[in-house]
Assembly symmetry: C2
Homo-oligomer: 190 residues x 2
């Protein structure tokens, strides 16, 4: 069992509806040392892909994406959910359903920072339905970039995201892979 | 001249209205190595304060707060701007005007992660009017925590934030301190 799994067992809270609360080390409070260890692990797993950029979505993807990018020595781009005034009028924009918000959210990337020919590694906190990551992949493809890998700290396999992302044809890695949250028990895939 | 200042001179764009666009290394694309260097520098400057937690505001504060906390070996809490479903009903909430959004935004922290007696170091990307940082300080005070220091990557001294924050009575540090953006020229404080 790795450090992230141990932490999930110790501090994760099952809220029902398939929601796992990890606000004490990922989503509101962040444990930088744990994020750094996960970033290092992603860098190890994805070291041979020749990635040129890490792409994530604000907000909770930022910490693991930054530590991964630090270990791979790459820049990170985080897709914005609202267009800031510093962004040009012409942007890449897609819609993705948000699990925790119960509505569609925008994912926006400026063409300034996602170029034709980039090799993009997507890093996010959760892989659940896969819809946010699929949205990020659409943005990258619109920019003429190529997705080369997908990494998530926590995968909830019972939500089927891995199947949805199969069409991308790239390696998908998660550090803690959860089989079930039923009966108030967190069960990992062996 | 430090690395952040050099980067600002090379890539920063003056958009008018006192707005400096640093989207290529701080606010949309992030340079993790630069963020790590700045985090290390904050850790050095704030090492003697006995901080127990780093506090920032989503979204752009997260990267420098995480790298600072990594070097200080502390947890980070980022104040949310919308209340996620994982947060309890009872929260600390304050309003702060957003410079780049032109409206008031909420800053929300769960009492779970900001406790009575904590010594809080606030880290953010910009120190401009100081209103976001003052909002974070109000949240910390509401939790019975004590602010022990404030660090910002980039300070725009002409917006007067440092004066506003004087009442906190704590050290305020910025890594790139900008005196003026007039006539299309970025001028640092010596």
């Amino acid at each position: 069992m790795n450090e992230l799994q141990e932490r999930i067992l110790r501090e994760g809270q099952i809220l029902g509806n398939g929601i796992l609360k990890v606000d004490s080390f990922v989503n509101h409070q962040v444990d930088p040392r744990l994020m750094d260890a996960c970033g290092k692990e992603f860098a190890r797993r994805f070291s041979r892909l020749g990635a040129t950029k890490v792409l994530t979505a604000e907000i909770s993807g930022i910490a693991p994406a930054v530590t991964t990018a630090l270990h791979l020595d790459l820049p990170v781009v985080y897709a914005r959910k609202t267009k800031p005034i510093t962004m040009p009028d012409q942007v890449y924009l897609t819609l993705a359903p948000s699990h925790t918000k119960g509505r569609m959210v925008e994912l926006i990337v400026s063409p300034e920072y996602l170029a034709n020919g980039e090799r993009v590694l997507i890093i996010d906190d959760f892989l659940a339905s896969g819809q946010t990551i699929l949205g990020l992949a659409r943005l990258a493809e619109a920019a003429g970039s190529r997705i080369v890998g997908v990494g998530a700290l926590i995968e909830k396999v019972f939500e089927g995201g891995r199947t949805v992302l199969k069409s991308l044809g790239v390696p998908i890695e998660s550090i803690a892979c959860i089989k079930s949250l039923e009966d108030g028990k967190i069960e990992f895939v062996e």
